[in-house]
């Protein structure tokens, strides 16, 4: 995608990924984790990336947020080139302060996503303070509001993490991710470590947040039912390739690829 310069909005898409390849090097061998991934996502839209372990779906998530560097292809976020080669031929790898806030991520393991030593309020306030100029007191007030909006009370926010369940920790992670007021949220299996009743509450919360803030959300999941319920479009990945993509309704009602058909058939009624 030559010809577009940094800072120019591309078709109004918040995410524009072209020809993404990611290669891991393990013991001298190159492993192609992702081979040719394209994506366009507008504000307020959501897409699901489904696949089984080893399909490359989590690597795509990490590439989007900048935790792994692509070996080929480009990623633009809100017009900013964050990975790839810019118009003057310079290689861009990763986010800078001016765009770092735009993309945040929710991780799978609620027990590993928070600093075990930090109270929820301190964790969120630290993130607020990083992105919004003002006093520490103001950051705490703002953090309390964020926590409240995800269903964490002041008492829970100021007690130790140990007292919080997996679902509550995941809420804190969401509040922290919202602190820089991002435009894009990447959720990597956000509920697969949670009990079913907690899952429902977290998904309702994410949907509400998306509607309120006009976020673009990328859901990474092995759970077809989740993607079917939640996202507008879906991409099915296998062995690093996207084998099928399209509107969620179409893919689920009349899948083209055999693998997609097998996945759908494996879902318990």
């Amino acid at each position: 995608m030559a010809g577009t310069t940094t800072g120019v909005r591309v078709d109004g898409d918040l995410i524009a990924i072209d020809g993404l390849h990611v290669t891991y090097r393990t013991r001298g061998d190159d492993v192609l984790a992702v081979q040719g991934f394209d994506l366009r996502l507008r504000a307020g839209a959501s897409t699901g990336i489904v696949g089984e372990s080893g399909s490359g779906k989590s690597t795509v998530a990490k590439a989007i947020v900048g935790l792994v560097a692509p070996s080929q292809g480009s990623i633009r976020i809100d017009g900013d080139l964050v990975a790839g080669t810019d118009a003057s031929g310079n290689r861009v790898t990763g986010y800078v302060r001016a765009n770092r806030w735009k993309v945040q991520m929710i991780f799978q393991d609620p027990y590993g996503s928070l600093d075990p030593r930090q109270q929820p309020l301190d964790a969120v306030a630290e993130a607020v303070h990083q992105w919004q100029p003002g006093s520490r007191g103001a950051a705490r007030t703002e953090a309390l509001g964020l926590l409240k909006s995800v269903g964490i009370s002041e008492r829970q926010a100021t007690s130790g993490l140990r007292a919080l369940s997996g679902g509550q920790r995941q809420r804190v992670s969401i509040a922290r991710a919202l602190a820089p007021r991002p435009q894009v949220l990447v959720a990597d299996e956000p509920t697969s470590s949670l009990d079913q009743s907690a899952q429902a509450a977290i998904l309702n919360l994410l949907r509400r947040i998306q509607a309120e803030r006009g976020l673009a959300i990328v859901f990474i999941s092995h759970d077809l039912a989740l993607v079917r319920y939640l996202t507008d479009t879906v991409m099915v990945m296998k062995d690093g390739f996207v084998v099928e993509s399209g509107s969620t309704d179409r893919v689920f009602s009349s899948p083209d690829h055999d693998y997609t058909k097998r996945l759908i058939a494996s879902v318990l009624a």
């Binding site: 935790l67 600093d115 030593r117 992105w131």
Partner: protein, 272 residues
Amino acid sequence: MRLVRWFRELPRAGQVGVLIIAMVLLLGLIVPAISPYGVEGTESGSNEAPSLAHPFGTDQLGRDIITRSFAATHLDVFVAVVGVLVPLLIGTVLGALAATTDIRVIRGGIALLIDGINAFPFLILALGVIAVVGTGITGMIVAIALTSWARYAKLARTRAATLRELDFVSALKLLGYSRVRIVIRHILPNCFRETAAYGVSDFTLVILTVAALSFLGAGVRPPTPEWGSMMADGRMFLMSAPWLLVGPGIVLTITAFGVSLIGEALKDRVRA
């Protein structure tokens, strides 16, 4: 207030440990103060057996053993506290640094030091250091610090390596926190939580090391009362006047026992 809550939340054994240490420290103040004998006074007969006048007996110079045993408490506990805190601080910081830095030389250098120091028997290494820096309280603390930081460093390095892989570190990177900040504000404090719990149980080891070094003549010099040197002096009279060893031995054992109770309780809390 926080101290009261901390105490209440300790397991019962830990509470007993805290009470024992508090009692020993208090007696360390009270006994020499109310004792009719001076700490270094030689007003009584030498090697007198325990009696009402001298509950622990007297030593070869006619000094009251119970007075000296408790008078030694503050010195021994002070050396132990410093002897734990200094290597704990150095070890945790270097260990966490080794696990999080990208600079090969630093990582490899610290690893070499850790493995090298841990390969030596602790006491022999400490004696070696004392031979260089000299005997006395300072020499002892330097020796303990130089030799035992490596154990904390190993612990901290393992902990930091685990933490570094956790998702929260990725989350903080995405929030734009600098590397230095993530290490100092988020990884290091978590490492301290772990090493501090082990540090408490190391108090016992350090108290015993101080005693051992003095016993070997590399520690505190007479006539300063110190458990190890008192016992070293008494060993010549082991058969005729065993109380020379029993008196300081009892106070040392009680202190060590109290500290290890606290240490175990804190370790359980970190693991939980």
